[in-house]
Amino acid sequence: MTKTLPALAIHGGAGTVPAHQLDNESRAAYHEGLRTALRAGWKLLHAGAPALDAVMAAVKALEDDTLFNAGRGAVLTSAGRPEMDAAIMRGSDRAAGAVAGICGPRNPVEAARLVMEQSGHVLMMGKGAEAFLREVGMEFLPASYFETARRRAALELELARRASGAPDIRTDADRHG
């Protein structure tokens, strides 16, 4: 089989902090978080690993970084707790796995891959998904592991706004996390 040039791209969300509000230290932290994810995926691609392993490694690195709205550092629902969604898909046979509305697995993208590889389904949600993930041995962490002071503050701000009836003037960053 002819070899193709590997390629990798990532995103950390489209709701960015406005440029004038981003100090140099925060800017550097975001760039470093993105580079860490790129390195995690590129190392595998460069070693000849499948694209599926590379995208999972890159997304896990972003889920572990509290700067980004996924995994640790996920935003909070109006009920004050994280509810996470994730999906993964392989292009050769369109195999796919996804989870919705879960809280517990350190890396939701890894949970999605377990759904793809071991459940016989594509999408699993909520308590049923969590029960399946426990059955297949996934470690569960408390909701407090995922919560950060920054996301709690953004939630309180938004709940206070809703209570006051003031217009929604949030930045992309606050709205989309």
């Binding site: 089989m1 193709t4 040039l5 590997p6 390629a7 990798l8 791209a9 990532i10 995103h11 950390g12 489209a14 709701g15 960015t16 440029a19 981003l22 800017r27 975001y30 760039h31 993105l34 994810a37 790129l38 390195r39 995926g41 590129w42 691609l45 000849g48 499948p50 694209a51 599926l52 995208v55 890159a58 709205n69 996924a70 995994g71 935003v75 909070l76 629902t77 109006s78 509810e83 996470m84 969604d85 994730a86 999906a87 993964i88 898909m89 392989r90 292009g91 050769s92 369109r94 996804a98 919705a100 509305g101 890396n107 999605a112 999408l123 949600m125 995922f146 938004e158 989309h176 996390g177």
Partner: protein, 133 residues
């Protein structure tokens, strides 16, 4: 929301997306990230896609499957199709972005809002990252 798309040395494509949704969302609300064909999609015959933004719009317009279809049907090249589609979604209140990679060529990263945390590796493995335009 975070995501990745990749092409391996055998030409295999893959996509992954993960999210907490948006701040103060109603419990039970699910956006496009886990919806195959909306926020996440991969098919070796066209491209791999991961999206971020107004999930309800990306679901209704099956954003990532739409991009793949335009490429597979040969109507547009990947970068043209992605740029045109993200603009169309923006015109329908679909604020956000998408990253995609095809069977050949460099990854494509597009967005219709103030910025997107993003990065890619070029063929030599040099890392490129950006936040705003």
């Amino acid at each position: 929301t975070v995501g990745a798309v990749a092409r391996d040395v055998n030409g295999g494509l893959a996509a992954a997306t993960s999210t907490g949704g948006y701040t103060a969302k109603r419990p039970g609300r699910v956006g496009d990230a886990p919806v195959i064909g909306a926020g996440t999609f991969a098919d070796d015959a066209s491209c791999a896609v991961s999206c971020t933004g107004s999930g309800e719009v990306f679901i209704r317009y099956t954003a990532s499957a739409e991009l793949a279809a335009r490429v597979r049907l040969g109507r547009e090249k990947l970068d043209e199709a992605a740029s045109r589609l993200i603009a169309e979604l923006g015109a329908r209140d679909g604020e956000g972005g998408m990253i995609t990679v095809g069977a050949e060529g460099a990854p494509v990263l597009v967005f219709n809002c103030s910025g997107m945390y993003r990065g890619y590796t070029d063929e030599e493995g040099v890392l490129w990252t950006a936040i705003h335009r």
